[in-house]
Amino acid sequence: MNITLIYWLIPSLIMFCCGVYGFITRKNMIAMLISLELMLNAVDINFVLFNRYLFPGQMEGMFFTLFAIAIAAAETALAIAIIINIFRSIKTVDVQGIDKMKF
């Protein structure tokens, strides 16, 4: 058995889909962020995989992942700051309570 590209891609996709599922279902905003991390991570894995399997002569995918990790860190940090900000004002991190503005 050869471990071809698709053998890695599917777990990575499942990871992404888990992220989607978690993002849509979890009430806790931090849990949503965790799900987001899963998605981003799946993307990173994809890049790396494509790079290594399809274009082994170069490093674009890998470097994208490298920068993506940094970006993910920045995003997370900022998002957590905002979550804490809102937690201060309404004392909850339940996302379903945050729908004052709608329609």
Binding site: N46, F47, L78, A79, I82, N85, I86, I98
Partner: protein, 489 residues
């Protein structure tokens, strides 16, 4: 390693210098001088803008970092357009920035704003998806912080959380799409992608395109990626909203065009052409349908801006130099029109705290000048001549139809029919101000100097940009000779 290539990025460097000056001023000047920061930043930005606009050496066509970065007369022009918008936003926000509760965050507002502008610059100039993503994130993440700046209002925080969550989600999906693109083409340079994709058509490519479009469409608030827009516009401080609605959107629109033609131009026909048709129709229609029922002015303008984004997209789908010129012109006009509207909203909000359309009843009796500005803005947004909005709409339609297919006629017809709906809701504002017979809600007040200057500029733009033809002529001349034409069919 040729570090002199950084010198190609003249505008970015200039902007960073402005940023640095503001940052230094904010950090090292005594607290008492903080009051002067808004004026300082505005003037600085104004100088920078003027320099960019009138210094021809900045408009050269250059490519740096092995094609990762590109600038040209067209790109310089769109950056200048954004600069102008930012100057107006800054002037209009002087009073708000000087308010008591903004005092501890005054400097940050300007710093974040300049960084996002820098991000937009990168989006526009990037010819590599990594740089583009960084630009995109720089243009959206700090915005979340800006949205949350108004700490006294809960809505501001709610808007920020909605914004950041959807933005991150969107960027994940966007990067997923990019990974597909990478898999298909083996590179993230636009030109390589263009070459590699020529002749390709696979499900993966479509999916990749859909994800990429959704990522940029999120910034542009195309339906169905627009849902954050209304809440964020409503919740954010008015100055931030106005910035978000025009500058961010304008940059994204131009970047969108660049991506679609320079990276994916080879698969225009049959693939993203039709996807964009669908998106445009949806965007214009849904935006309009939502806008009809809005009573909160900022929310109302949010949906109006959604539908405007659809019109802007007509310039993309035109896929020709005329469309590009029309798109840039549309952005310029849209900046003026929308900022005029937000200028009035901001002035009234700052003076009375009222943002509901119902509060605008009888405004013409108490504040005739503000009402007049608002009316002109509405007319311009609705595309009524002789205001600039009419010209921009006309040219964007003309540019789109230049594409020539029958489908585009149908699309433009649908867009045109939608202008009726949009006219309806714009007239609702006019009606509230001029026709409603109830007693006025808003008392007569005197708007601040900055607000007035801002309105004067925007009104001058609304009236002048169309009638004075040289702006559009310049843009069309510039685009017609631009290198980007090679990508159009």
């Amino acid at each position: 390693m040729d570090y002199s290539q950084f010198l190609a990025m003249k505008q970015e460097i200039g902007l960073l210098i402005v940023f640095l000056l503001v940052f230094l001023y904010d950090t090292f000047m005594p607290r008492s001088a903080g009051k002067q920061l808004p004026v300082f930043a505005s003037v600085l930005m104004l100088i920078f803008t003027a320099a960019c606009c009138f210094c021809p050496c900045l408009a050269g066509s250059e490519s740096a970092f092995a094609g990762m970065y590109e600038t040209s007369a067209v790109i310089a022009a769109i950056k200048n357009i954004l600069n102008i918008g930012v100057v107006i936003v800054l002037i209009q926000s002087v009073k708000w920035a000087n308010s008591e509760e903004m005092a501890p965050r005054r400097g940050e507002f300007y710093e974040l704003l300049l960084v996002t502008l820098f991000g937009m610059y990168l989006m526009i100039s990037a010819r590599h998806f990594l740089l583009f993503v960084i630009g995109l994130e720089s243009a959206s993440l700090p915005l979340a912080a800006m949205v949350a700046l108004d700490k006294n209002r809960y809505e501001s925080s709610e808007a920020a959380i909605k914004y950041i969550l959807t933005a991150v989600f969107s960027s994940a999906v966007f990067m997923m799409g990019l990974s597909f693109v990478y898999a298909l083409s083996g590179s993230l340079y636009f030109q390589n992608i263009y070459l590699a994709l020529t002749g390709q058509h696979s499900t993966m490519l479509v999916l990749a395109l859909a994800f990429v479009i959704s990522g940029v469409g999120f910034k542009l608030s195309l339906v169905p990626f627009h849902l954050w827009t209304a809440d964020v516009y409503q919740g954010a401080p008015t100055s931030v909203t106005s910035y978000l609605s025009v500058i961010s959107k304008g940059a994204a629109a131009f970047a969108f065009l660049v991506i679609l033609c320079q990276a994916f131009g080879a698969v225009y026909a049959n693939i993203w052409e039709w996807m964009l048709y669908a998106l445009i129709i949806l965007t214009i229609t849904v935006g309009n349908l939502f806008a009809i029922r809005q009573r909160n002015m900022k929310r109302f303008l949010a949906f109006s801006s959604v539908s405007q984004a659809g019109y802007i997209m007509l310039g993309v789908i035109a896929f020709n130099a005329m469309g590009l010129a029309a798109l840039m012109y549309y952005i310029l006009v849209y900046i003026f029109s929308n900022l005029a509207a937000f200028g009035v909203i901001g002035a009234i909000e700052n003076a009375t705290g009222k943002v509901s359309m119902d509060d605008y009843r009888g405004l013409s009796k108490t504040n005739p000048r503000l009402s007049l500005c608002m009316m002109l803005a509405m007319f311009s947004l609705a595309g009524i001549p002789p205001f600039a909005g009419f010209f921009s709409k006309f040219f964007i339609f003309t540019g789109a139809i230049n594409q020539g297919s029958v489908a585009i006629y149908v699309l433009v017809l649908i867009a045109l029919i939608n202008t009726i709906i949009s006219l309806y809701y714009y007239l609702l504002v006019v009606k509230a101000m001029y026709i409603a017979e109830e007693a006025p809600v808003v008392e007569t007040f005197k708007s601040s100097c900055g607000e007035r200057i801002g309105l004067w500029i925007t009104i001058a733009g609304i009236i002048g940009l169309g009638i004075v033809s040289c702006v559009y002529n310049f843009l069309l001349d510039t685009t017609a000779t631009s290198a980007i034409n090679a990508y159009f069919m």
